[in-house]
């Protein structure tokens, strides 16, 4: 799998993401500067976390307008895989590659903590290393992760099986307490209709090494490496 990581000014989890990808594929991903527009040869384009342009207007809004995002859109339209994590998810949503929006956390505070995620379907390139319904732990760190979409969109997402992960208790229960940021229907991540674009708020890339407290996030990257092996 050839992976590329898009770097916008203000992005700060690109190195975490590179470590996770390298761990799964054995090769360093290509770092793609936001002014580049050629993504040829990449199987997976990753938009990592951070504060692109300081998130000063709305999270992800300014990055969504940059030249590289037109190329990411074209890559997605060609059927390429795209992963957006945290700020990357916000950027995908602002670009319109995924529906909905990410609002300020319901408690209005930045939240940096571990959460538990339930895998809603296991038949995708991203989730193939998990069982459906599996629960894993993941760090999260964001101020604007409160997923919002109108009811029709939410119903469609659920109806078409496009919810990727939900915030749950360690036992896998969907409860208001497990839903730290107040997301609609506990949604932590969603797929595009072709299941090749995934956006999620938490940071599985920060839990891929027992030394850092666990490897719960590793299946995401191992699964991608297996599914997209050339």
């Amino acid at each position: 799998m050839k992976a590329g990581i898009v770097v916008f000014p203000g992005i700060n989890r690109e190195r975490d993401m590179a470590i996770a990808l390298r761990g799964a594929t054995g090769q360093a991903p290509r770092m793609v500067w936001h002014k580049e527009t050629d993504l040829a040869g990449l199987d997976l384009v990753v938009i990592p976390g951070g504060f692109s342009y300081g998130d000063y207007l709305r999270c992800g809004a300014m990055a969504a307008q940059s030249p590289v995002m037109a190329a990411v859109r074209a890559h997605a339209q060609r059927g390429g895989h795209v992963l957006g994590v945290c700020n990357g998810f916000q950027i995908l949503v602002e670009t319109g590659l995924l529906p909905g929006a990410l609002l300020r956390n319901a408690g209005l505070r930045f939240l940096s903590m571990d959460c538990h995620l339930r895998v809603e379907r296991a038949d995708t390139a991203f989730t193939g290393r998990w069982q459906q319904g599996a629960v894993f732990r993941s760090p999260m760190a964001h101020g604007d992760g409160n997923y919002f979409a109108d009811d029709a969109t939410l119903d469609r997402l659920e109806g078409e099986g496009l919810v990727a992960f939900r915030y749950v208790t360690a036992e896998g229960a969907v409860t208001p307490e497990a839903n730290h940021n107040g997301s609609a229907r506990n949604i932590a991540g969603i797929f595009s209709p072709n299941l090749r674009v995934l956006g999620l708020m938490p940071h599985p890339e920060d839990l891929v090494d027992p030394l850092m407290g666990g490897a719960d996030g590793k299946p995401l990257f191992d699964g991608l490496a297996a599914a997209l092996a050339a």
Partner: protein
């Protein structure tokens, strides 16, 4: 001239910030505060002398960048 773009969450989109401000105002003893909504305002200096053109430009900026029309609405006012 100056264009002022006001961006507010659409009705129906939960506004936790407005809610928190409302609660804080009640705690401070402002009993007759009802609903509170919080939004953003962006003041733009435009090199443009025609108010209609200025307004149209600011609206385009709002649509393209300043507001996320999935969740937000906006209004534009133009001043001298």
């Amino acid at each position: 001239m100056k264009a002022v773009v006001t961006v507010m969450l659409k009705p129906g989109v939960l506004d936790p910030q407005g809610k928190a401000i409302g609660q804080a105002l009640h705690t401070l003893g402002f009993a007759n505060v009802g609903e509170v909504r919080a939004g953003k305002v962006i003041e733009l200096e435009l090199a443009e002398t025609d108010p209609t053109a200025a307004k149209a430009q600011a609206e385009e900026m709002a649509r393209k960048l300043l507001a996320n029309t999935v969740i937000e609405g906006f209004r534009v006012e133009v001043a001298g």
